[in-house]
């Protein structure tokens, strides 16, 4: 393959460019969400996120002039700056919402009662009148200006700790954590014992059991919803965390057993035979030899199960219910999409809160994930 690349260097360039394009295409949507989560509601609805990094020209919300008046040459004067930052540049302004771009910067305009207002391109303004402003409503300025890129962490504060904006996302985060950790830990041990039996113990019906596990691997969990909900209601679990944990455990077991068995079968036969000859029982062989050696497979499954339970919507909706204080992140997101469809600052931030944990797990443990995928499907 190297020979090929060496022979045709123009092709190598084509490969580099195509891969760069492909990666950009795949990354673009996620980056959009991430960038949006750091912008204010105004910025999001005024311009696409891809322009967030360049200076923005746009109409600012109306600014009401304020300040202390002073006397100067027999006139009452208020002056100051419209903008908080120095980098904002005014390109047009007006005093009515119907004509927001009526005047150029650095022009002086006469308003009612002899008031004179002048706005410079830097945003400096000067309002003067022959009589005091005391008790008067000062004019509003509509400014069209170029503002530098600006990012904020405010959305995250609102969504995680606020009471109105993204109400319940912080709670939902805890709920998701509460669902996924036990649902990841419990199936591992149960599956490991079963996998050992299926890999290293001789008994009639073993092949049949393995076939059954492979078959159950693909049974859609849609079939399990109603019967299990009825079962949970009958035995008194009802809708709640216990039900979700049990359901996730049941649904995760086929993959766990399958992955672990495939891995354990590949362990060196000598070690296990030798231990048997030395008089070790199956229980000892399992706990002292097979379990420690199977760590990579255990890790693979744990990552799968964690990602799956963290990202799951259906099982949580059905077995945990739709009470407001019990919603997991995915369910909360679906609700937000319905109720706050246009408020991208809340949606984007909530969505990012929900995907950040899986992403961290993914990048930290990618090796095990890939290994698990390969063991799970190529065999």
């Amino acid at each position: 393959m190297e020979g090929m690349a060496g022979q045709k260097s123009h092709l190598t360039w084509a490969v580099h460019i195509s891969v760069a394009l492909l990666v950009a295409l795949w990354l673009f949507p996620t980056v959009g969400l991430l960038v949006s989560s750091f912008r204010t509601a105004e910025q999001i609805s005024n311009s696409g996120w891809w322009s967030a990094f360049s200076a923005q020209k746009g109409q600012l919300p109306a600014i009401r002039i304020s300040g202390d008046e002073r006397q100067e040459d027999g006139l009452y004067v208020i002056d100051g700056n419209l903008f908080g930052t120095a980098e904002t540049t005014l390109s047009a302004w007006g005093t009515s919402s119907r004509e927001p771009e009526a005047y150029e910067p650095d022009t002086e305009v006469e308003l009612k009662d002899g008031w004179v207002l002048g706005v410079a391109s830097s945003g400096d303004f000067r309002l003067s009148a022959p009589q005091s402003f005391e008790g008067e409503r000062l004019p509003r300025v509509f400014a069209t200006a170029t503002t530098p890129p600006e990012f904020t962490l405010e959305n995250y504060g609102n969504v995680l700790f606020g009471t109105t904006a993204g109400a319940g996302v912080g709670q939902a985060f805890l709920n998701t954590l509460t669902v996924s950790i036990p649902a990841t830990v419990i199936p591992i041990l149960v599956a490991a014992f079963a996998a050992y039996a299926l890999a290293w113990m001789e008994f009639p019906g073993r092949a049949l059991l393995i076939a059954a596990v492979v078959a159950l691997l693909v049974v859609p969990l849609q079939l399990a919803l109603i019967p299990l909900l009825q079962l949970h209601n009958t035995i008194g679990i009802g809708k709640g965390y216990l039900g979700v944990w049990l359901a996730h455990t049941g649904f995760g077991l086929p993959l766990a057993i399958y992955l672990l068995r495939n891995y354990m079968v590949g362990l060196p036969k000598d070690i296990i035979e030798n231990a048997r000859v030395d008089g070790a029982s199956d229980f000892q062989i399992f706990t002292k030899i097979v379990l420690p050696l199977s760590f990579p497979a255990l890790a693979s499954f744990a990552i799968f199960q964690f990602l799956w339970t963290w990202n799951d919507l259906l099982v949580a909706l059905v077995f945990l219910g739709t009470d407001d204080d019990r919603l997991v992140l995915t369910a909360r997101l679906v609700n937000l999409m319905g109720s706050r469809g246009g408020q991208w600052e809340i949606l984007a931030t909530s969505a990012f809160v929900s995907i950040v944990v899986p992403l961290v797990v993914f990048f930290a443990m990618q090796k095990y994930l890939v290994r698990g995928l390969l063991a799970g499907s190529v065999k």
Partner: protein
């Protein structure tokens, strides 16, 4: 009790229970029931060896049976009963009712569309990405980034793509990249997700985006497993890179392609979250799993809902049989 505390307690009880069960049952076996000493030592060891596998397997078999095998039967039975008549047996009435509903046929049609497009596109993109990234120095980083959507939930992905498809009325700045691009090309902004039948494809894009990384990882490993000699021989014979790829490499990894294809097919058959989150089946985008969810938890019609679940089961079963046959062949 606070749920977090309950979670910790569950982990302790669950794990402790498992460890306790396995340890005590084995102890009971070795020390009390079938001790490996005394007059019956031979018989005892033989019996212990016969029963012990089932000791190891019991919790798993119990959970699998209760949570996966039993529901298949129970759902089938539910699909033959009517909830409003107190669970009376009604034969195939639910299926007949389902077959009369336009929404069901819409779901079937869309599911078939998904079945064709998503596995094909994901596998093709995955194969392309695997082949291209295999040759370059920063291939692993590229792979990581293409693989990344795999970690994102379907709902999270739906939010991400809903921003891409966002619509603002004409005259306003478009904040969705698709409309921004469309307007830049000279078109009028569109509410993409309401335009039948294209909205279906826009939903599929989300799943293709997620599944391509999976296909790439599996196919990449298979490509690397191809014997060098076959490729070298082709180079010597003067084959160009495209011929090498399509005539030498692809045929050698055909079985892996089939595995990837069927795995993605299984995901597609159960697709639910994306449709629920983005359109909830409106504008002719219904799919089977969402149709079933509608029936079960919005209309509370367990009969028809279960019938729809059985249809999904029916569609899955060829793959189930094929997987079992393959697994058995490998074990020989």
């Amino acid at each position: 009790m606070h749920p977090a505390l309950q979670a910790v307690l569950t982990i302790v009880i669950g794990l402790g229970g498992c460890i306790g069960y396995f340890w005590f049952s084995n102890q009971l076996f070795d020390k009390v029931l079938f001790p490996a000493r005394g007059p019956n030592i031979g018989r005892n060891i033989r019996r212990a060896e016969m029963i012990r596998p089932w000791l190891f397997l019991f919790p798993a078999i119990f959970a699998l049976g209760l949570y996966l095998a039993y529901p298949v039967v129970a759902t089938f039975w539910l699909s033959l009963t009517d909830r409003d008549q107190g669970g009376a047996f009604v034969g195939l009435a639910n299926y007949q009712q389902m077959l009369r509903e336009a929404k069901f046929w819409e779901a079937i049609r869309n599911n078939m569309l998904w079945l064709v497009v998503v596995p094909a596109a994901s596998t093709a993109f995955g194969l392309l990405a695997a082949q291209l990234t295999d040759r370059i120095s920063w291939g692993n980083i590229a792979k990581s980034l293409i693989f990344m959507p795999m970690a994102i939930s379907f709902v999270g992905a739906s939010v991400i793509w809903k921003l891409v498809y966002d619509f603002r009325p004409i005259g306003q700045e478009q904040i969705g990249i698709l409309n921004a691009f469309w307007v830049w090309l000279g078109g009028e902004p569109q509410t993409w997700l309401t335009i039948t039948p294209w909205n279906n494809f826009l939903l599929m894009v989300v799943l293709i985006w997620i599944q391509t990384g999976f296909a790439m990882v599996i196919l990449g490993a298979a490509l690397r497993g191809i014997p060098e000699e076959t490729v070298e021989a082709a180079i010597v014979d003067g084959a160009n890179p495209f011929q090498i790829f399509f005539k030498i490499k692809v045929p050698q990894i055909r079985s892996t392609i089939v595995v990837v294809w069927t795995t993605i097919t299984l995901v597609v058959l159960k697709i639910f979250d994306i449709v629920l989150a983005m359109t909830n089946g409106q504008w002719q985008t219904q799919v089977l799993a969402n149709y079933m969810y509608d029936k079960l938890f919005r209309a509370f019609d367990w009969g028809v809902g279960s019938a729809a679940a059985m249809v999904i089961m029916l569609l899955v079963s060829p793959i189930l049989v094929w997987n079992v046959i393959n697994a058995r062949r490998e074990m020989r």
